[in-house]
Every structure is written in C-alpha cells, then in structure tokens.
C-alpha cells in the first residue's frame, strides 16, 4: 500500500492506447526511464517520483480501485461498463472511438428489433448492452465474448454485436454494418478517491501537467 514516501503510481494499459499516451507523458514531464513498448518489465520508474504499471486495459480500474495504483489511464467504455469507485478528473482525448451496435447488413436493413422481441447479442459490455436494450423494450440474451465479436453473427451465434468501432474497417470486412452509437469513447485519467484525499499535493500537479499536455497537443 502506498505511503507518503512511496512514488506516485500510475497504471497504464498496453496496446493501442500506449502509443498515444507516450507523447502526453512527454509533454507532462513524466517520461519513463525505459521504452514502454519494448520493456518486459511491468513496473517502470519515471521522472518526478512517478512509477508506471503496465497492465491490461481491463485491469486498470481494478488496480486503481484497490489502491495498488493512485491513478490510471483507462477507456471510458470500461468506466461506463463497470462503474468503478474512482474519480475521473480528465478526459485525455486519446484512443478515440465509438461504442456501437452492429449487425449483418441484411438484418440491420430490416430495422431495429421491435419492442417485445428477443435477440441474441454478442459483447463484452454486458451491462451497457442490457441497459440499452432494456430502454428499447427488447429482451437481449447477452452472449459474453472476450474478443472478435464480429465472428458471432457470421456463424449464426448472435443477431447483433456491441463493440468499439474505430474506423469501421473490421465491420465492413465481415459484412457487418453499424446500427446505432451508444457512446463516444476516449481515454480518461482516473484517480483513487482515497489517494486524492491523502496524497493531493502529489496528485494535483500530475492532473495539472496532463491537462496542460492535452492543450499542447491540441494547439
């Protein structure tokens, strides 16, 4: 558990978002001492008494909620889906995409499922999917998958998918079309509430630095 003398710990996710995160870290004066893309280490120190954890995107909220990291960078999709008890002080504007409903072209052409109907939906966003269809009066049987949602309608396992769409090329390649957008997504800086209360003098400058870094990127 972090004490006052321990470094400020920031959880980052590997993969797509990392490339967009690095310029922000540079602008914020928090450059890691090793190349985050190539290192096999999971814990990397940086300038300014900061330590990064490199973990899976889906685990960032867990680390921050449990106080193993004071802060983290995580997609809004995961915040909306799991509603973790964290502060969300800053939208970093990186990792932009949309959380969409898509389906086979011929099904979508027939229009949205009617109220009262029952459909099968493949997704890893069980809660958001359920909420969406409940509001439409449609009973959605959620089929939880961990990846490659696009396959589910192709093999007849699902009528729709709910997934992140960046360019839409994967959908198009699999003859799927978008039906609706649930949310615009980007990555956010999140903070553990207890860390915010007990380590505010360390955390506030980092939030500030990120906020300036975003403005730099924009200009």
């Amino acid at each position: 558990m972090p004490q006052a003398s321990t470094p400020l710990i920031i959880a980052l996710s590997k993969g797509r978002i990392l490339s967009e995160t690095l310029p922000l870290l540079e602008h914020a004066g928090l450059m890691p001492k090793e190349d985050l893309h190539t290192t096999r280490k999971l814990m990397i120190d940086a300038a300014g008494g900061v330590r990064f954890l490199l973990i899976r995107a889906a685990d960032v909220c867990t680390y921050v909620e449990h106080g193993a990291a004071d802060m983290g960078i995580v997609g809004r999709d995961l915040l909306l889906e799991s509603r973790p008890n964290v502060y969300e002080p800053l939208d970093l504007g990186i990792g932009r995409c949309r959380l969409c409903i898509a389906g086979p072209a011929e099904l979508v052409a027939r229009g949205k499922p009617e109220a009262g109907s029952r459909i099968r939906v493949a997704t890893k966003y069980d809660n958001l999917t359920e909420q969406y269809y409940m509001a439409q009066g449609v009973h959605a049987d959620i089929i939880h998958l961990y990846g490659s949602m696009e396959l589910a309608p192709l093999v007849g396992m699902a009528d729709r998918i709910v997934d992140l769409v960046e360019t839409g090329s994967t959908l198009a390649a699999n003859n799927l079309v978008e039906e609706d957008t649930l949310y615009d997504i980007s990555s956010r800086l999140v903070v553990n509430p207890a860390s915010f209360a007990t380590r505010k003098s360390l955390i506030a400058p980092v939030i500030d630095a990120f906020s300036k870094a975003i403005r730099n990127e924009d200009s």
């Binding site: 558990m1 106080g67 008890n85 969300e88 956010r188 903070v191 509430p193 207890a194 209360a197 939030i207």
Partner: protein
C-alpha cells in the same frame, strides 16, 4: 450444507479477537464522550427500515414473512433508522440524545463483486442539537476513532450538501444526477450535462471548479457573495467548522474542506464528511448532518452522526 453462503463469513481466532478489541476501543471512546450504547434487535418492521434514511437502502434490505405471525420482517441493512425509531418512541422524553451502536447489518447483495454482505456497523448519532456544536463533537470523535484504530496520516474530508443545493436549485436536472456527477469528479461529463441545462454562467463555472477538485478552503471563501444567500450560509458553516475542528486536531488528523465531498445518499441536510488514511484504498467512515430525516421517523429533531464498518477497518489495519 457445509457450503459457505455468498458474502457471509465466519470469524474466529485472531480475526474474532481483533474485532472485539477494536470494538472495545471505539465503544470506550464513545462512552468517554458521553454517548450511551443502544442495542436494537437485528430484525425490524420493513416500514421502519424503509423510511427516512432507510429508503435509500430499500433494495438492499432482505424482507421475509415471520413464521411467528408478526407479518413481514426485515433484516436491518443500516442501524440509523433503528436509532431514529428508538429516539422517536422509547427515548422521546429526552430532548438531547447522544447514542452509539455497534452491530451487524446485512445487505441483500455485496456492494462490490465478491465483497461481503455483512458489515459491523459502528457509530454515533447526536440528536437534538443543531449547528456546529453537534458537528464538531461528531467529527472530532470520528477522527479520534481513526487514530485509536492505528491508521496512519488520517484525513477528514469535509463538504456541505447546501453548496450543491444552492447552485442547482433552479435547474431541471435532479439533485441526484448532480450529486453523482460531482461525486465522480468528472468535469468533462459535468460540462456535457451543463450545456443542456438552464444555469447561470457563474454557477456553471463554480460547479466545474468543484468537479475539478479545486474546492478547497481558500476557494470556498473566495466564492462567498457570488452565488446566493443559501450558498453563503453553507459556505460559512463549512469554513468555520473546518477551521475549528482542524485546529483542535492539529498535528494528529488533517481536516480538509472540499466542496465536492458528496453524501452517498441524499438524506443529508448540511455538513458531510468522509475519513481516509494513508494506504487505505476506500473511505474509512462517512458522516454528516441530516436534520430533515428524523421527521420521517416520527420525531422532527436535528441530527448528526457518523458510522464505519469494523470488518473493513480490520482488513486494512491488519495489512
């Protein structure tokens, strides 16, 4: 038969002993401060548990039919409604009540996945005294409890629900929506909501500052005279309380004013606070003033208090 029930654990050995030790220390502190213990039964009529403060936990309260014929009974999910019932009935002859309690409450579902459905809720209620006098005592006691349990660098974060109420009283969005937005401290989501709501430019900026975590003591003082009288009254109450309690606890517990401290449930009417400590990932205690709630239990009187979960304390103190 021997399978454990989800979210319910047996405690024995060192854990049982530690719990009793901690409970004894806190009850001794309450006693020293003049709070008398109340031990209500674990079952109540659902009406009691679901009115006033209890209605926010209504869907977390297990209700069953009494085989002995008393109708529906509920397992308590919170002790405050029981204390309120006792204050409104058996103890109605006393104008001022200083009561404390320590007992098991049960939730229908764990708050976090795989979490516990049981809490050993321990706390105090100070009834019949309005304003700073009661709040100071309750906040000081909350801070002392964190010290007695051995937490390092404890912090009391103090806010006032009156600030938010004053800022959004004319907006069409519900207070609960605002509470949730401020509690999550997401200025980005807040600005998205604000653009579709009829609210003045000044109030808009003040809300964004709050969500951005800028609402400390100096900031609160600087906002006085900008919003309205309700805001100023709440701000003054908060500022003077934080200064007073802060100086009493100087060197032991840090007392921070933060305009964005929100109650978990909207029954608070004034000061709200939460306790934190170094290395503990969640709030250790919650408290505040709830003057308007007692009327729902049949006795309109000012009230303030705090509570904590001894099991949660034990888990973080031991590690």
């Amino acid at each position: 038969m021997d399978r454990p029930i989800i979210g319910l654990d047996d405690a024995f050995g060192v854990r049982a002993k530690s719990l009793r030790g901690l409970q004894g220390r806190l009850l001794a502190l309450f006693d020293e401060a003049g709070f008398d213990e109340v031990i209500p039964p674990i079952l109540e009529r659902p009406d009691t548990l679901k009115s006033g403060a209890g209605r926010f936990l209504a869907d977390q309260t297990v209700v069953f039919s009494d085989p002995a014929g008393a109708g529906l009974l509920a397992i308590r999910s919170d002790m405050t409604p029981q204390i309120a019932r006792i204050a409104a009935t058996r103890l109605q002859s006393k104008d001022i009540l200083k009561l404390c309690y320590s007992g098991t409450v049960m939730l229908a579902r764990p708050v976090s996945r795989r979490g516990s459905r049981q809490q050993w809720q321990t706390g105090v209620e100070y009834l019949g005294v309005s304003g700073a006098e009661g709040d100071t005592e309750v906040m000081r006691l909350a801070a002392t409890c964190m010290l007695a349990a051995g937490f390092e660098q404890p912090v009391l974060q103090v806010g006032h629900i009156g600030l938010l109420k004053a800022l959004v009283e004319e907006s069409s969005v519900s207070l609960e929506t605002w509470r949730e937005l401020i509690a999550r401290r997401s200025p980005d989501d807040l600005s998205a909501t604000i653009t579709s709501v009829n609210i003045s430019e000044t109030n808009r900026q003040v809300l964004l500052d709050m969500a951005s975590g800028l609402g400390d003591l100096a900031w609160i003082e600087a906002q006085q005279g900008r919003i309205n009288d309700t805001f100023d009254a709440a701000a003054q109450e908060l500022v003077s309380l934080v200064k007073q309690v802060g100086s009493q606890l100087e060197g032991e517990v840090q007392v921070h004013a933060d305009a964005a401290v929100m109650p978990r449930f909207l029954y608070h009417s004034g000061i709200v606070f939460a306790g934190f400590a170094a290395g503990v990932p969640q709030a250790l205690l919650h408290g505040g003033r709830y003057d308007t709630m007692m009327a729902a239990h049949g006795r309109d009187m000012p009230a303030t208090g705090f509570s904590c979960d001894l099991w949660a304390w034990l888990d973080v103190v031991q590690s």
